[in-house]
Amino acid sequence: MTAIEVLGQVLVFGVVLGGEYALAALGMGIAWGLMHVVNFAHGEWIMITMYTTLWLSLIFRIDPYLLIPINILIGLAIGFLSQRFVFAPMSKRGGGWQQTILATFGLSMLMTGLAQALWGQTIYTLPNPYVGTYLRIGFISIPEAHMFGFVISLVTILGIYFFLKKTLIGKAILGTSEVMGDEEAAKLMGIKTSNIKVLALGLSGAAAGIAGTVISTFYYINPGVGITWAALAFVIVILGGLGSFSGLFVSGMIIGVLEAVGNMLLGQAYGLVLVYAVFLFVLYVRPKGLKGRA
Protein backbone atom coordinates (compact mmCIF):
# COMPACT_ATOMS: atom_id res chain seq x y z
CA MET A 1 0.00 0.00 0.00
CA THR A 2 1.20 3.47 -0.76
CA ALA A 3 1.28 6.20 1.86
CA ILE A 4 -1.78 7.85 0.34
CA GLU A 5 -3.71 4.60 0.46
CA VAL A 6 -2.80 4.12 4.11
CA LEU A 7 -3.80 7.68 4.92
CA GLY A 8 -7.08 7.30 3.01
CA GLN A 9 -7.81 4.07 4.84
CA VAL A 10 -7.11 5.66 8.24
CA LEU A 11 -9.15 8.76 7.49
CA VAL A 12 -12.19 6.82 6.27
CA PHE A 13 -11.97 4.47 9.24
CA GLY A 14 -11.70 7.47 11.56
CA VAL A 15 -14.83 9.04 10.09
CA VAL A 16 -16.81 5.80 10.41
CA LEU A 17 -15.61 5.29 13.98
CA GLY A 18 -16.42 8.92 14.70
CA GLY A 19 -20.00 8.45 13.55
CA GLU A 20 -20.34 5.69 16.13
CA TYR A 21 -18.74 7.87 18.77
CA ALA A 22 -21.34 10.53 18.02
CA LEU A 23 -24.04 7.93 18.69
CA ALA A 24 -22.39 7.06 22.01
CA ALA A 25 -22.43 10.76 22.89
CA LEU A 26 -26.00 11.41 21.67
CA GLY A 27 -27.74 10.43 24.91
CA MET A 28 -25.35 12.48 26.97
CA GLY A 29 -25.87 15.41 24.63
CA ILE A 30 -29.64 15.18 25.18
CA ALA A 31 -29.39 14.95 28.97
CA TRP A 32 -26.79 17.67 29.29
CA GLY A 33 -27.61 19.97 26.40
CA LEU A 34 -31.35 19.94 26.94
CA MET A 35 -31.87 19.18 30.63
CA HIS A 36 -28.57 20.28 32.21
CA VAL A 37 -28.06 16.86 33.72
CA VAL A 38 -24.34 16.14 33.37
CA ASN A 39 -24.71 12.40 33.45
CA PHE A 40 -21.65 10.47 34.57
CA ALA A 41 -23.68 7.27 34.48
CA HIS A 42 -24.21 7.52 30.71
CA GLY A 43 -21.32 5.12 30.05
CA GLU A 44 -22.87 2.60 32.44
CA TRP A 45 -26.22 2.88 30.69
CA ILE A 46 -24.37 1.89 27.51
CA MET A 47 -22.55 -0.86 29.40
CA ILE A 48 -25.81 -2.39 30.70
CA THR A 49 -27.29 -2.57 27.19
CA MET A 50 -24.05 -4.10 25.90
CA TYR A 51 -24.61 -6.92 28.39
CA THR A 52 -28.28 -7.32 27.47
CA THR A 53 -27.23 -7.54 23.80
CA LEU A 54 -24.66 -10.18 24.70
CA TRP A 55 -26.97 -12.36 26.77
CA LEU A 56 -30.08 -12.06 24.62
CA SER A 57 -28.27 -12.70 21.36
CA LEU A 58 -26.45 -15.69 22.86
CA ILE A 59 -29.54 -17.19 24.47
CA PHE A 60 -31.97 -16.67 21.60
CA ARG A 61 -29.36 -16.85 18.86
CA ILE A 62 -30.56 -13.73 17.13
CA ASP A 63 -28.74 -11.04 15.23
CA PRO A 64 -27.57 -8.30 17.65
CA TYR A 65 -29.07 -5.54 15.51
CA LEU A 66 -32.54 -7.08 15.95
CA LEU A 67 -32.19 -6.38 19.68
CA ILE A 68 -32.24 -2.63 19.15
CA PRO A 69 -35.98 -2.25 20.01
CA ILE A 70 -35.53 -4.21 23.25
CA ASN A 71 -32.49 -2.16 24.20
CA ILE A 72 -34.39 1.04 23.46
CA LEU A 73 -37.03 -0.07 25.98
CA ILE A 74 -34.38 -1.00 28.57
CA GLY A 75 -32.63 2.33 28.06
CA LEU A 76 -35.94 4.20 28.33
CA ALA A 77 -36.70 2.45 31.61
CA ILE A 78 -33.25 3.22 33.07
CA GLY A 79 -33.54 6.87 32.02
CA PHE A 80 -37.08 7.22 33.42
CA LEU A 81 -36.17 5.65 36.75
CA SER A 82 -32.95 7.63 37.19
CA GLN A 83 -34.69 10.95 36.55
CA ARG A 84 -37.77 10.10 38.59
CA PHE A 85 -36.01 8.73 41.68
CA VAL A 86 -32.57 10.33 41.75
CA PHE A 87 -32.13 13.46 39.65
CA ALA A 88 -35.58 15.02 40.14
CA PRO A 89 -35.69 14.72 43.96
CA MET A 90 -32.24 16.28 44.01
CA SER A 91 -33.13 19.38 42.03
CA LYS A 92 -36.30 19.69 44.13
CA ARG A 93 -34.08 19.97 47.20
CA GLY A 94 -32.29 22.83 45.53
CA GLY A 95 -29.02 21.00 44.95
CA GLY A 96 -26.80 22.83 42.49
CA TRP A 97 -24.99 21.37 39.51
CA GLN A 98 -22.32 19.94 41.81
CA GLN A 99 -24.91 17.88 43.68
CA THR A 100 -26.37 16.56 40.42
CA ILE A 101 -22.94 15.62 39.09
CA LEU A 102 -22.08 13.86 42.33
CA ALA A 103 -25.38 11.95 42.25
CA THR A 104 -24.88 10.75 38.67
CA PHE A 105 -21.34 9.89 39.66
CA GLY A 106 -22.67 7.76 42.51
CA LEU A 107 -25.13 6.13 40.13
CA SER A 108 -22.27 5.30 37.78
CA MET A 109 -20.30 3.58 40.55
CA LEU A 110 -23.40 1.75 41.78
CA MET A 111 -24.16 0.37 38.31
CA THR A 112 -20.54 -0.68 37.68
CA GLY A 113 -20.49 -2.42 41.06
CA LEU A 114 -23.78 -4.21 40.40
CA ALA A 115 -22.52 -5.36 36.99
CA GLN A 116 -19.36 -6.68 38.62
CA ALA A 117 -21.36 -8.50 41.27
CA LEU A 118 -23.68 -10.03 38.65
CA TRP A 119 -21.29 -10.85 35.82
CA GLY A 120 -17.79 -10.76 37.29
CA GLN A 121 -14.68 -9.33 35.72
CA THR A 122 -14.71 -11.60 32.67
CA ILE A 123 -14.06 -9.78 29.42
CA TYR A 124 -16.62 -10.93 26.86
CA THR A 125 -16.73 -10.36 23.16
CA LEU A 126 -19.96 -10.81 21.27
CA PRO A 127 -19.69 -13.46 18.55
CA ASN A 128 -21.52 -11.95 15.59
CA PRO A 129 -21.59 -12.40 11.82
CA TYR A 130 -20.15 -8.95 11.12
CA VAL A 131 -16.71 -9.50 12.62
CA GLY A 132 -13.92 -10.12 10.15
CA THR A 133 -16.03 -9.25 7.12
CA TYR A 134 -15.13 -6.16 5.16
CA LEU A 135 -16.77 -3.83 2.70
CA ARG A 136 -14.33 -2.83 -0.03
CA ILE A 137 -14.64 0.42 -1.92
CA GLY A 138 -11.62 0.88 -4.16
CA PHE A 139 -8.53 0.44 -2.02
CA ILE A 140 -10.40 1.20 1.19
CA SER A 141 -11.88 -1.56 3.31
CA ILE A 142 -14.12 -1.02 6.31
CA PRO A 143 -15.19 -3.74 8.78
CA GLU A 144 -18.88 -4.49 8.29
CA ALA A 145 -19.69 -4.07 11.99
CA HIS A 146 -18.41 -0.50 11.86
CA MET A 147 -20.19 0.25 8.59
CA PHE A 148 -23.55 -0.89 10.01
CA GLY A 149 -22.80 1.00 13.21
CA PHE A 150 -22.16 4.15 11.22
CA VAL A 151 -25.46 3.85 9.31
CA ILE A 152 -27.46 3.12 12.47
CA SER A 153 -25.82 6.06 14.18
CA LEU A 154 -26.70 8.41 11.31
CA VAL A 155 -30.32 7.18 11.27
CA THR A 156 -30.66 7.50 15.06
CA ILE A 157 -29.26 11.00 15.25
CA LEU A 158 -31.46 12.20 12.38
CA GLY A 159 -34.45 10.34 13.86
CA ILE A 160 -34.10 11.99 17.26
CA TYR A 161 -33.46 15.35 15.66
CA PHE A 162 -36.71 15.20 13.69
CA PHE A 163 -38.57 13.73 16.66
CA LEU A 164 -37.59 16.80 18.68
CA LYS A 165 -38.31 19.30 15.91
CA LYS A 166 -41.51 17.87 14.41
CA THR A 167 -43.56 16.04 17.04
CA LEU A 168 -45.57 17.66 19.79
CA ILE A 169 -43.69 15.83 22.57
CA GLY A 170 -40.39 16.77 20.97
CA LYS A 171 -41.37 20.43 20.81
CA ALA A 172 -42.43 20.29 24.45
CA ILE A 173 -39.01 18.87 25.36
CA LEU A 174 -37.23 21.62 23.43
CA GLY A 175 -39.51 24.23 25.00
CA THR A 176 -38.67 22.99 28.47
CA SER A 177 -34.94 22.73 27.77
CA GLU A 178 -32.73 25.34 29.32
CA VAL A 179 -30.62 25.83 26.23
CA MET A 180 -33.30 26.35 23.62
CA GLY A 181 -36.39 27.14 25.63
CA ASP A 182 -37.47 28.43 28.98
CA GLU A 183 -38.79 26.18 31.72
CA GLU A 184 -40.94 28.88 33.36
CA ALA A 185 -42.48 29.86 30.05
CA ALA A 186 -43.12 26.21 29.24
CA LYS A 187 -44.92 25.79 32.58
CA LEU A 188 -47.11 28.80 31.82
CA MET A 189 -48.05 27.22 28.49
CA GLY A 190 -49.46 24.27 30.42
CA ILE A 191 -46.57 21.86 29.87
CA LYS A 192 -45.96 19.58 32.83
CA THR A 193 -42.22 20.13 32.88
CA SER A 194 -41.37 17.48 35.46
CA ASN A 195 -42.91 14.83 33.19
CA ILE A 196 -41.13 16.30 30.18
CA LYS A 197 -37.80 15.99 31.98
CA VAL A 198 -38.50 12.35 32.73
CA LEU A 199 -39.28 11.88 29.03
CA ALA A 200 -36.08 13.62 27.96
CA LEU A 201 -33.94 11.44 30.23
CA GLY A 202 -35.82 8.43 28.85
CA LEU A 203 -34.88 9.56 25.37
CA SER A 204 -31.29 9.88 26.51
CA GLY A 205 -31.44 6.33 27.88
CA ALA A 206 -32.95 5.05 24.65
CA ALA A 207 -30.08 6.57 22.69
CA ALA A 208 -27.68 4.87 25.10
CA GLY A 209 -29.51 1.60 24.41
CA ILE A 210 -28.97 1.90 20.65
CA ALA A 211 -25.35 2.90 21.22
CA GLY A 212 -24.81 -0.12 23.49
CA THR A 213 -26.14 -2.48 20.81
CA VAL A 214 -23.88 -1.01 18.13
CA ILE A 215 -20.77 -0.86 20.33
CA SER A 216 -21.17 -4.43 21.54
CA THR A 217 -20.61 -5.70 17.97
CA PHE A 218 -17.03 -4.44 17.85
CA TYR A 219 -15.88 -3.66 21.40
CA TYR A 220 -15.23 -5.89 24.39
CA ILE A 221 -17.84 -6.14 27.13
CA ASN A 222 -16.83 -5.67 30.76
CA PRO A 223 -18.31 -3.84 33.79
CA GLY A 224 -15.53 -1.24 33.54
CA VAL A 225 -16.11 -0.11 29.93
CA GLY A 226 -18.56 2.61 30.93
CA ILE A 227 -15.90 5.15 31.82
CA THR A 228 -14.21 4.83 28.41
CA TRP A 229 -17.43 5.67 26.59
CA ALA A 230 -18.53 8.32 29.07
CA ALA A 231 -15.17 10.10 28.73
CA LEU A 232 -15.38 10.01 24.93
CA ALA A 233 -18.98 11.20 25.07
CA PHE A 234 -18.03 14.13 27.32
CA VAL A 235 -15.29 15.18 24.92
CA ILE A 236 -17.62 14.97 21.93
CA VAL A 237 -20.52 16.79 23.58
CA ILE A 238 -18.31 19.65 24.75
CA LEU A 239 -16.45 19.89 21.45
CA GLY A 240 -19.71 19.91 19.53
CA GLY A 241 -21.31 22.51 21.77
CA LEU A 242 -24.29 21.96 24.05
CA GLY A 243 -27.58 21.46 22.29
CA SER A 244 -26.20 21.16 18.77
CA PHE A 245 -26.93 18.00 16.79
CA SER A 246 -24.76 18.81 13.78
CA GLY A 247 -21.97 19.89 16.12
CA LEU A 248 -22.26 16.52 17.86
CA PHE A 249 -21.92 14.61 14.61
CA VAL A 250 -19.01 16.69 13.32
CA SER A 251 -17.11 16.58 16.61
CA GLY A 252 -17.67 12.81 16.82
CA MET A 253 -15.96 12.47 13.45
CA ILE A 254 -13.13 14.82 14.43
CA ILE A 255 -12.48 12.70 17.51
CA GLY A 256 -12.68 9.47 15.50
CA VAL A 257 -10.18 10.73 12.91
CA LEU A 258 -7.88 12.10 15.63
CA GLU A 259 -7.84 8.77 17.42
CA ALA A 260 -7.25 6.79 14.20
CA VAL A 261 -4.46 9.11 13.03
CA GLY A 262 -2.92 9.28 16.50
CA ASN A 263 -2.92 5.49 16.78
CA MET A 264 -1.24 5.22 13.38
CA LEU A 265 1.41 7.90 13.89
CA LEU A 266 2.18 7.53 17.60
CA GLY A 267 1.25 3.92 18.31
CA GLN A 268 -1.74 2.28 20.00
CA ALA A 269 -3.25 4.08 23.03
CA TYR A 270 -1.46 7.33 22.24
CA GLY A 271 -4.48 8.06 20.05
CA LEU A 272 -6.59 8.58 23.17
CA VAL A 273 -3.89 10.74 24.79
CA LEU A 274 -4.04 12.92 21.68
CA VAL A 275 -7.83 13.08 21.93
CA TYR A 276 -7.74 14.22 25.57
CA ALA A 277 -4.93 16.69 24.89
CA VAL A 278 -6.83 18.24 21.99
CA PHE A 279 -9.89 18.34 24.23
CA LEU A 280 -8.04 20.36 26.88
CA PHE A 281 -6.71 22.63 24.15
CA VAL A 282 -10.17 23.18 22.69
CA LEU A 283 -11.53 23.99 26.14
CA TYR A 284 -8.84 26.63 26.38
CA VAL A 285 -9.38 28.33 23.03
CA ARG A 286 -13.08 27.69 22.52
CA PRO A 287 -14.81 26.65 25.74
CA LYS A 288 -18.27 26.67 24.18
CA GLY A 289 -17.36 24.11 21.54
CA LEU A 290 -17.58 24.35 17.78
CA LYS A 291 -21.20 25.43 17.63
CA GLY A 292 -22.02 26.06 21.25
CA ARG A 293 -24.85 28.22 22.45
CA ALA A 294 -24.67 27.55 26.18
Binding site: W32, V38, V86, P89, M90, R93, G95, W97, Q98, Q99, I101, L102, A103, F105, G106, L107, S108, M109, L110, M111, T112, G113, L114, Q116, A117, G120, Q121, P223, I227, A231, F234, V235, I238, G267, A269, Y270, L272, V273, Y276, A277, F279, L280, F281, L283, Y284, P287
Partner: protein, 332 residues
Protein backbone atom coordinates in the same frame (compact mmCIF):
# COMPACT_ATOMS: atom_id res chain seq x y z
CA UNK B 1 4.60 30.11 77.63
CA UNK B 2 4.41 26.76 79.31
CA UNK B 3 1.27 27.55 81.22
CA UNK B 4 -0.32 28.83 78.06
CA UNK B 5 0.40 25.64 76.15
CA UNK B 6 -1.27 23.57 78.82
CA UNK B 7 -4.27 25.73 79.38
CA UNK B 8 -7.05 24.06 77.45
CA UNK B 9 -9.49 26.83 78.16
CA UNK B 10 -7.48 29.24 76.10
CA UNK B 11 -7.85 27.08 73.01
CA UNK B 12 -10.71 27.93 70.72
CA UNK B 13 -13.22 25.29 69.70
CA UNK B 14 -11.49 24.36 66.45
CA UNK B 15 -8.12 23.86 68.10
CA UNK B 16 -9.84 21.76 70.73
CA UNK B 17 -11.52 19.68 68.05
CA UNK B 18 -8.20 18.95 66.34
CA UNK B 19 -6.81 17.73 69.67
CA UNK B 20 -9.89 15.57 70.28
CA UNK B 21 -9.53 14.12 66.76
CA UNK B 22 -5.90 13.19 67.45
CA UNK B 23 -6.88 11.31 70.59
CA UNK B 24 -9.87 9.67 68.98
CA UNK B 25 -7.43 8.05 66.53
CA UNK B 26 -4.43 7.65 68.82
CA UNK B 27 -6.05 5.95 71.83
CA UNK B 28 -7.67 3.08 69.89
CA UNK B 29 -4.43 2.60 67.95
CA UNK B 30 -2.47 2.34 71.19
CA UNK B 31 -5.04 -0.05 72.63
CA UNK B 32 -5.05 -2.27 69.52
CA UNK B 33 -1.24 -2.25 69.53
CA UNK B 34 -1.14 -3.35 73.18
CA UNK B 35 -3.53 -6.26 72.65
CA UNK B 36 -1.71 -7.11 69.40
CA UNK B 37 -4.62 -6.53 67.02
CA UNK B 38 -2.46 -5.57 64.05
CA UNK B 39 -5.24 -5.57 61.48
CA UNK B 40 -7.08 -2.86 63.39
CA UNK B 41 -3.90 -0.76 63.52
CA UNK B 42 -3.53 -1.24 59.77
CA UNK B 43 -7.10 0.02 59.30
CA UNK B 44 -6.26 3.09 61.39
CA UNK B 45 -3.26 3.78 59.14
CA UNK B 46 -5.71 3.81 56.24
CA UNK B 47 -8.12 6.00 58.20
CA UNK B 48 -5.39 8.58 58.84
CA UNK B 49 -4.09 8.49 55.26
CA UNK B 50 -7.53 8.71 53.65
CA UNK B 51 -8.49 11.51 56.04
CA UNK B 52 -5.32 13.27 54.86
CA UNK B 53 -6.30 12.78 51.21
CA UNK B 54 -9.91 13.79 51.85
CA UNK B 55 -8.83 16.98 53.57
CA UNK B 56 -6.38 17.75 50.73
CA UNK B 57 -9.29 17.37 48.27
CA UNK B 58 -11.44 19.47 50.56
CA UNK B 59 -8.99 22.37 50.21
CA UNK B 60 -9.88 22.70 46.56
CA UNK B 61 -13.57 21.75 46.61
CA UNK B 62 -14.65 22.72 50.11
CA UNK B 63 -12.68 25.93 50.37
CA UNK B 64 -12.47 27.11 46.77
CA UNK B 65 -15.40 25.35 45.07
CA UNK B 66 -13.12 23.64 42.54
CA UNK B 67 -14.62 20.19 41.92
CA UNK B 68 -12.03 17.61 40.89
CA UNK B 69 -12.64 14.02 39.83
CA UNK B 70 -8.99 13.42 38.97
CA UNK B 71 -7.04 13.58 42.21
CA UNK B 72 -5.62 10.12 41.54
CA UNK B 73 -3.35 11.85 39.00
CA UNK B 74 -1.73 13.99 41.72
CA UNK B 75 -1.56 11.02 44.08
CA UNK B 76 0.09 8.78 41.48
CA UNK B 77 2.41 11.47 40.13
CA UNK B 78 3.78 12.24 43.60
CA UNK B 79 4.35 8.53 44.25
CA UNK B 80 6.04 7.94 40.89
CA UNK B 81 8.33 10.97 41.10
CA UNK B 82 9.51 10.11 44.61
CA UNK B 83 9.94 6.40 43.87
CA UNK B 84 11.87 7.04 40.64
CA UNK B 85 14.16 9.51 42.42
CA UNK B 86 14.73 6.98 45.17
CA UNK B 87 15.38 3.99 42.90
CA UNK B 88 17.62 5.83 40.42
CA UNK B 89 19.41 8.41 42.55
CA UNK B 90 19.00 7.07 46.08
CA UNK B 91 17.19 10.19 47.21
CA UNK B 92 15.39 9.56 50.48
CA UNK B 93 11.59 9.76 50.13
CA UNK B 94 11.51 12.20 53.04
CA UNK B 95 12.87 14.77 50.56
CA UNK B 96 11.42 12.96 47.54
CA UNK B 97 7.91 13.52 48.84
CA UNK B 98 8.40 17.28 48.73
CA UNK B 99 9.62 17.01 45.13
CA UNK B 100 6.80 14.60 44.28
CA UNK B 101 4.28 16.97 45.86
CA UNK B 102 5.92 19.81 43.94
CA UNK B 103 5.46 17.95 40.65
CA UNK B 104 1.82 17.32 41.53
CA UNK B 105 1.38 21.04 42.26
CA UNK B 106 2.98 21.85 38.89
CA UNK B 107 0.55 19.47 37.19
CA UNK B 108 -2.24 21.31 39.00
CA UNK B 109 -0.87 24.57 37.63
CA UNK B 110 -0.60 23.28 34.05
CA UNK B 111 -4.10 21.85 34.12
CA UNK B 112 -5.51 24.77 36.05
CA UNK B 113 -4.31 27.58 33.79
CA UNK B 114 -6.33 26.58 30.71
CA UNK B 115 -9.32 25.01 32.48
CA UNK B 116 -10.01 26.67 35.81
CA UNK B 117 -11.86 29.61 34.29
CA UNK B 118 -14.41 27.17 32.88
CA UNK B 119 -17.75 27.30 34.60
CA UNK B 120 -19.83 24.52 36.01
CA UNK B 121 -19.15 20.98 34.99
CA UNK B 122 -16.45 21.71 32.42
CA UNK B 123 -13.61 21.92 34.89
CA UNK B 124 -14.73 18.76 36.67
CA UNK B 125 -14.68 16.93 33.35
CA UNK B 126 -11.28 18.23 32.33
CA UNK B 127 -9.83 16.79 35.56
CA UNK B 128 -10.96 13.36 34.34
CA UNK B 129 -9.18 13.96 31.03
CA UNK B 130 -6.07 15.00 32.98
CA UNK B 131 -6.13 11.85 35.12
CA UNK B 132 -6.55 9.66 32.04
CA UNK B 133 -3.65 11.40 30.23
CA UNK B 134 -1.38 10.85 33.25
CA UNK B 135 -2.43 7.22 33.58
CA UNK B 136 -1.92 6.46 29.88
CA UNK B 137 1.44 8.26 29.84
CA UNK B 138 2.67 6.32 32.87
CA UNK B 139 1.63 3.12 31.14
CA UNK B 140 3.33 4.14 27.91
CA UNK B 141 6.58 5.70 29.17
CA UNK B 142 7.75 2.35 30.43
CA UNK B 143 11.47 3.10 30.18
CA UNK B 144 11.06 5.22 33.33
CA UNK B 145 7.89 3.90 34.93
CA UNK B 146 8.12 0.20 33.97
CA UNK B 147 4.60 0.51 32.53
CA UNK B 148 1.88 -1.78 33.79
CA UNK B 149 4.22 -3.95 35.85
CA UNK B 150 5.11 -1.02 38.11
CA UNK B 151 8.06 -0.29 40.35
CA UNK B 152 9.15 -2.31 43.36
CA UNK B 153 10.90 -0.75 46.32
CA UNK B 154 13.83 -2.71 47.79
CA UNK B 155 13.21 -4.70 50.97
CA UNK B 156 14.80 -3.78 54.33
CA UNK B 157 14.43 -0.03 54.15
CA UNK B 158 15.13 2.00 57.26
CA UNK B 159 13.02 4.76 58.88
CA UNK B 160 15.48 7.21 57.26
CA UNK B 161 14.13 6.02 53.93
CA UNK B 162 10.54 6.38 55.13
CA UNK B 163 9.86 2.79 55.99
CA UNK B 164 8.78 1.25 59.28
CA UNK B 165 8.56 -2.43 60.13
CA UNK B 166 5.94 -1.85 62.78
CA UNK B 167 2.44 -0.87 61.61
CA UNK B 168 2.08 1.26 64.72
CA UNK B 169 4.95 3.49 63.64
CA UNK B 170 3.29 3.78 60.26
CA UNK B 171 0.19 4.91 62.08
CA UNK B 172 2.17 7.56 63.97
CA UNK B 173 3.76 8.79 60.74
CA UNK B 174 0.44 9.10 58.89
CA UNK B 175 -1.17 10.68 61.94
CA UNK B 176 1.68 13.21 61.98
CA UNK B 177 1.12 14.29 58.36
CA UNK B 178 -2.63 14.37 58.98
CA UNK B 179 -2.18 16.66 61.98
CA UNK B 180 0.24 18.83 60.03
CA UNK B 181 -2.35 19.20 57.26
CA UNK B 182 -5.12 19.95 59.78
CA UNK B 183 -3.02 22.68 61.39
CA UNK B 184 -2.17 24.01 57.93
CA UNK B 185 -5.88 24.04 57.03
CA UNK B 186 -6.74 25.77 60.29
CA UNK B 187 -4.17 28.48 59.58
CA UNK B 188 -5.38 28.65 55.99
CA UNK B 189 -8.97 29.22 57.11
CA UNK B 190 -7.85 32.18 59.20
CA UNK B 191 -5.41 33.60 56.64
CA UNK B 192 -6.09 36.25 54.04
CA UNK B 193 -6.04 33.55 51.36
CA UNK B 194 -8.62 31.49 53.25
CA UNK B 195 -10.91 34.46 53.69
CA UNK B 196 -10.55 35.33 50.01
CA UNK B 197 -11.45 31.76 49.07
CA UNK B 198 -14.51 31.81 51.31
CA UNK B 199 -15.67 35.14 49.91
CA UNK B 200 -15.14 33.83 46.40
CA UNK B 201 -17.10 30.65 47.08
CA UNK B 202 -20.03 32.59 48.57
CA UNK B 203 -20.30 35.02 45.68
CA UNK B 204 -17.71 35.08 42.95
CA UNK B 205 -18.89 38.30 41.32
CA UNK B 206 -19.00 40.23 44.58
CA UNK B 207 -15.56 38.94 45.55
CA UNK B 208 -14.17 39.93 42.16
CA UNK B 209 -15.56 43.42 42.59
CA UNK B 210 -13.59 43.65 45.84
CA UNK B 211 -10.40 42.86 44.00
CA UNK B 212 -10.24 39.13 44.68
CA UNK B 213 -9.12 37.68 41.38
CA UNK B 214 -10.96 34.33 41.42
CA UNK B 215 -8.83 32.43 38.92
CA UNK B 216 -5.60 33.11 40.77
CA UNK B 217 -7.05 31.95 44.09
CA UNK B 218 -8.66 28.88 42.57
CA UNK B 219 -5.37 27.83 40.98
CA UNK B 220 -3.52 28.38 44.27
CA UNK B 221 -6.09 26.24 46.10
CA UNK B 222 -5.79 23.53 43.45
CA UNK B 223 -1.98 23.58 43.69
CA UNK B 224 -1.99 23.33 47.48
CA UNK B 225 -4.45 20.47 47.27
CA UNK B 226 -2.36 18.72 44.60
CA UNK B 227 0.82 19.16 46.64
CA UNK B 228 -0.62 17.42 49.69
CA UNK B 229 -2.27 14.72 47.59
CA UNK B 230 1.13 14.00 46.01
CA UNK B 231 2.67 13.63 49.47
CA UNK B 232 -0.14 11.24 50.40
CA UNK B 233 0.77 9.21 47.32
CA UNK B 234 4.40 8.97 48.44
CA UNK B 235 3.34 7.71 51.87
CA UNK B 236 1.06 5.08 50.37
CA UNK B 237 3.77 3.94 47.93
CA UNK B 238 6.31 3.63 50.75
CA UNK B 239 3.81 1.78 52.93
CA UNK B 240 2.95 -0.78 50.25
CA UNK B 241 6.50 -1.10 48.94
CA UNK B 242 5.49 -1.03 45.28
CA UNK B 243 3.51 1.11 42.84
CA UNK B 244 1.49 0.19 39.78
CA UNK B 245 -0.77 2.32 37.56
CA UNK B 246 -3.71 -0.01 38.13
CA UNK B 247 -4.11 1.03 41.74
CA UNK B 248 -2.18 4.32 42.03
CA UNK B 249 -3.78 6.12 39.11
CA UNK B 250 -7.25 4.66 38.66
CA UNK B 251 -10.55 6.59 38.85
CA UNK B 252 -11.62 4.45 41.85
CA UNK B 253 -8.96 6.18 43.93
CA UNK B 254 -10.26 9.62 42.97
CA UNK B 255 -13.72 8.33 43.93
CA UNK B 256 -12.58 7.21 47.37
CA UNK B 257 -10.94 10.56 48.11
CA UNK B 258 -14.09 12.37 47.05
CA UNK B 259 -16.43 10.11 49.05
CA UNK B 260 -14.38 10.54 52.23
CA UNK B 261 -14.62 14.32 51.90
CA UNK B 262 -18.32 14.62 51.06
CA UNK B 263 -19.32 11.96 53.60
CA UNK B 264 -17.71 13.94 56.40
CA UNK B 265 -18.78 17.31 55.08
CA UNK B 266 -17.06 19.60 52.61
CA UNK B 267 -15.66 22.92 53.71
CA UNK B 268 -15.22 21.76 57.30
CA UNK B 269 -11.97 21.24 59.16
CA UNK B 270 -12.55 17.76 60.54
CA UNK B 271 -15.10 16.41 58.08
CA UNK B 272 -12.51 14.31 56.29
CA UNK B 273 -11.42 12.65 59.55
CA UNK B 274 -14.99 11.67 60.42
CA UNK B 275 -15.68 10.67 56.80
CA UNK B 276 -12.54 8.56 56.59
CA UNK B 277 -13.29 6.75 59.83
CA UNK B 278 -16.77 5.81 58.67
CA UNK B 279 -15.65 5.04 55.12
CA UNK B 280 -12.77 2.73 56.03
CA UNK B 281 -14.88 0.86 58.60
CA UNK B 282 -17.76 0.43 56.15
CA UNK B 283 -15.40 -0.66 53.38
CA UNK B 284 -13.68 -3.28 55.49
CA UNK B 285 -17.02 -4.60 56.78
CA UNK B 286 -18.28 -4.75 53.19
CA UNK B 287 -15.15 -6.55 51.97
CA UNK B 288 -15.37 -8.90 54.96
CA UNK B 289 -18.96 -9.77 54.10
CA UNK B 290 -18.76 -9.96 50.32
CA UNK B 291 -15.01 -9.97 49.59
CA UNK B 292 -13.16 -12.57 47.58
CA UNK B 293 -15.62 -13.80 45.01
CA UNK B 294 -17.20 -10.47 44.23
CA UNK B 295 -14.13 -8.60 43.03
CA UNK B 296 -14.72 -4.91 42.68
CA UNK B 297 -18.29 -4.99 43.91
CA UNK B 298 -17.30 -2.56 46.66
CA UNK B 299 -18.25 -0.01 44.00
CA UNK B 300 -21.84 -0.81 45.04
CA UNK B 301 -20.98 0.58 48.47
CA UNK B 302 -19.23 3.63 47.02
CA UNK B 303 -22.11 4.42 44.69
CA UNK B 304 -24.79 3.89 47.31
CA UNK B 305 -22.85 6.00 49.85
CA UNK B 306 -22.44 8.86 47.38
CA UNK B 307 -26.11 8.88 46.39
CA UNK B 308 -27.33 8.66 49.99
CA UNK B 309 -25.01 11.45 51.15
CA UNK B 310 -25.83 13.75 48.24
CA UNK B 311 -29.58 13.18 48.55
CA UNK B 312 -30.09 13.04 52.29
CA UNK B 313 -27.00 14.49 53.96
CA UNK B 314 -25.69 17.14 51.58
CA UNK B 315 -23.86 19.02 54.34
CA UNK B 316 -22.12 15.85 55.56
CA UNK B 317 -21.98 13.98 58.86
CA UNK B 318 -19.51 16.19 60.75
CA UNK B 319 -21.73 19.32 60.92
CA UNK B 320 -24.60 17.09 62.12
CA UNK B 321 -22.32 15.66 64.78
CA UNK B 322 -21.38 19.14 65.92
CA UNK B 323 -25.04 20.11 66.23
CA UNK B 324 -25.78 17.03 68.33
CA UNK B 325 -22.84 17.74 70.61
CA UNK B 326 -23.88 21.38 70.96
CA UNK B 327 -27.41 20.31 71.91
CA UNK B 328 -26.14 17.91 74.57
CA UNK B 329 -23.84 20.60 75.95
CA UNK B 330 -26.58 23.19 76.18
CA UNK B 331 -28.78 20.76 78.12
CA UNK B 332 -26.20 19.91 80.76
Amino acid sequence: MRARALNLKRLNSKQLEIIIAIFVLLIPALAFRLIGLNYAVYLLVLVALWAFLGQAWNICYGYAGVLSFGHAAFFGLGAYVSTILFLNYGLTPWIGMLIGGGFAALLGLFVGIPTIRLRGAYFALSTIAMAEIVRLLVLKLDFITAGASGLLLPANLSPLQLYFKDTFYWFLATLAILVALLIFSYKLEKSKLGKALRAMKENETAAASLGIYPLKYKIIALMISAFFTGIGGVFYAQYLGYIRPDFMLIPTLSDEILIVAILGGVGTLLGAVVGSLIFIVLRSVFLGLFGGGMMGSYLILYGALTIVVVMFLPEGIYPRLRKVVARIRSKT
